[in-house]
Subunit: 167 residues, 2 copies
């Protein structure tokens, strides 16, 4: 049942994967993603926010001053959908929107101190779970995990992801 316990041993170029093993991988992704979002969701609920707010706050934190257009490209939603979320975050004083100086059509987004506080709380619990998972899976598992995830991304998403990493 181990994906590498195949006719060809680990380290070979070819993998022998049954449909059943792939099906298990699919279900593992589903269940793991649920666990991955469970802890932040609890905190968000206390504040009356949803996962959409988390995503916005997360990426604004990682790229302060980014524009609405940049953000919606990364998040993969429409600007109208993002706008509703941003409006509530701005009203609640977690995000500030500044008119661009070079191009006054653009709005540059920043987290306020309150916004940074929430972002930190959300990140802490998610990092905690990921650290625990890494520790439980062992050091050898971590790089494999990351390599598979990156290979599973759409090319344009991988590009966005890599860009975020190098900044």
């Amino acid at each position: 049942m181990n994906p590498t316990s195949s006719p060809r041993a680990s380290g070979e170029t070819l993998l022998f994967l049954t449909d059943e093993q792939l099906r298990q991988g699919i279900e593992a992704m589903f269940f793991a993603y649920r666990g991955f979002t469970a802890d932040p969701d609890k905190i968000l609920e206390e504040h009356g926010y949803g996962r959409a707010h988390h995503r916005a706050v997360h990426f604004i934190n990682g790229a302060p001053g980014t524009t609405v257009n940049n953000l919606l490209n990364i998040l993969g939603v429409t600007k109208q959908s993002l706008n509703r979320v941003l409006r509530t975050l701005i009203e609640d004083g977690l995000v500030e929107s500044h008119v661009g100086q070079k191009d006054r059509r653009e709005r540059h987004l920043f987290l306020t101190e309150t916004g940074k506080d929430l972002e930190a709380k959300l990140t802490v619990v998610q990092q905690h779970r990921m650290r625990a998972a890494y520790r439980q899976a062992g050091p050898d598992a971590v790089s494999g995990f990351r390599r598979v995830l990156e290979a599973m991304m759409d090319p344009e998403l991988l590009q966005a992801y890599s860009k975020l990493r190098q900044d």
Copy 2:
């Protein structure tokens, strides 16, 4: 930047993971999950269905005759939410619901041939992407990927997942 290029080499019991490395793992999960669902979503859209329909069809396929109650425990949604999805699938002739013979309160769920056809189409594209990702990441990566995912699940979800695997 490699998560295992830490003061302690691979194979040790302790991991040295910076907050930044964990943050990258979080974003990798986000982008990878998007890629993971992208292909089925296209097919579903052609049929006027959403991800909720995919989940239902997937798990009914894996456990034919399962009850509504079983299904909503696995999916982690309310019965009311699941019911709406099931109703459309039944109306469209993809799922059949049979009153239980032992306990007539229960409804046992089965895929029709049409339902099996759609499930197969969805699974094929998702298996295709996962196979490609495994191949690209290499054989050593696969078991690590799976171990981290399983460690990231909530315990009760891990139990549900393991139960599905052994059946």
